[in-house]
């Protein structure tokens, strides 16, 4: 039986879609990988300024498997998809291997740009997550991912 003739088209289409969204990077070496984070009021006393943000900070040992792109130029992004409870933002500092930055839900931020010289990119990231406390009705798992745009 001949394979469906549409297969090459699908492969091309998928490749195009992946190029647009960025290829997900294997970050399974990141620790902790499924972390809990206690969110506290950024401002304990309500003072009329409308600050109802809750914040939490944790340290991540990020390990990105970029071997498939080694010896290529690429851009790596941290992606924070739009998700519950909504109105989430994240800010982070690094130890220099990755770029520090800030991202809001539904967007991504550049964390690396340049030649991929090693099979892994590793860094210690201090990640601070902010969310509107008025939306915090329960616990919420928030998903992040890293994406690669290859030049």
């Amino acid at each position: 039986m001949r394979p469906p003739s549409v297969s090459p088209f699908c492969i091309i289409w998928l490749a195009a879609a992946a190029a647009h969204a960025g290829t997900v990077v294997d970050d399974s070496g990141t620790l902790p990988y499924n972390a809990g984070l206690a969110m506290r009021w950024e401002q304990l006393e309500p003072d009329g300024s409308g600050n109802h943000r809750m914040v939490g900070t944790l340290q991540l040992r990020v390990r990105l498997n970029v071997a498939p792109w080694q010896r290529h130029n690429g851009h790596v992004y941290l992606v924070l998809p739009a998700q519950q409870p909504g109105d989430i933002s994240a800010a982070w500092t690094t130890q220099g291997r990755l770029l520090p930055g800030h991202v809001v839900a539904g967007s991504r931020a550049l964390v690396y740009a340049g030649l991929i010289t090693t099979p892994f990119i590793e860094d210690v990231v201090q990640l601070t997550i902010t969310v509107d406390g008025r939306r915090m009705l329960s616990t919420y798992p928030v998903n992040f991912r890293f994406e690669m745009d290859e030049n």
Binding site: V25, E45, G48, M54, W92, T128, R135
Partner: protein, 233 residues
């Protein structure tokens, strides 16, 4: 020419094989890729702070100018516990007892400033500070209720009594406008609601107490205690 025709066929075939070979490779990368998860949990989803008279509030806060990123947060910021029991009192001269002329009362509280914004809010010694906040997650319209619990009467050492209903208060504060969260009232029962705090708000008032002086009790020192309780849903 014909001898060269297989070349592009081979090239196309090779390309197809390469494409087909690329597919499982891509899937292998995708299957190894993950997205890490951080589960957000409100550590202190509900907090009430309430003080009548002097109180304690420690720590520093990320106030109006707070911006992200990054966020600076004092780990020690917290309302404190203050066990002081303040007094409100009046001494009525013998020739004025029971003459119906209300007597202004004063307090030994030293709490003139507000922990809300630090400004001088209550006038001492005539005004008693009452206020606090109610923090909770969600976007509801709940309120924390403040209740005063007291005995029916003030009592002296001999067991003589003065009805607590002889004492009333007005409400205000320096710079205040509009309705007070803890409005004027009087001790007309043994458990009375004296005000409320809306969700995620700070509410405060200054009370000025007054003794009605419409009864003629035996000479003595009459005391009674009022306990204020805040309860949040």
């Amino acid at each position: 020419m014909n001898g060269r025709l297989p070349r592009p066929d081979n090239a196309r075939r090779a390309a197809r094989y390469a494409a087909l070979a690329f597919l499982p490779t891509s899937l292998a990368v995708a299957s190894g890729a993950h997205a890490f998860t951080i589960t957000l949990a409100p550590a202190a989803p509900k907090t009430v702070y309430f003080q009548v008279g002097v109180g304690t509030f420690t720590g520093t806060y990320c106030r109006r100018n707070c911006t992200v990123p990054p966020i600076l947060q004092s780990g020690s910021s917290a309302p404190g516990t203050n066990t002081t029991i303040n007094q409100v009192s009046v001494s009525v001269s013998a020739n004025a007892v029971g003459n119906g002329t209300a007597q202004s009362m004063t307090t030994d509280s030293t709490q003139a400033s507000s922990f809300f914004d630090g400004r001088a809010f209550c006038t001492l010694p005539t005004q008693l500070y009452i206020g606090g906040y109610y923090r909770t997650t969600g976007n509801g319209a709940n309120t924390a209720l403040v209740t005063a619990t007291l005995a029916a009467s003030l009592m002296d050492a001999a067991g003589d009594t003065i009805p607590f209903s002889q004492i009333s208060w007005t409400s205000g504060g320096n710079g205040d406008a509009g309705a007070e969260p803890f409005p004027a009232g009087s001790f007309t029962g043994t458990s009375i609601g004296v005000g409320s705090i809306a969700q995620n708000h700070w509410a405060e008032s200054c009370w000025t107490f007054s003794y009605k002086n419409t009864v003629v009790p035996a000479a003595g020192t009459y005391t009674g205690r009022v306990t204020y309780t805040i309860s949040a849903p």
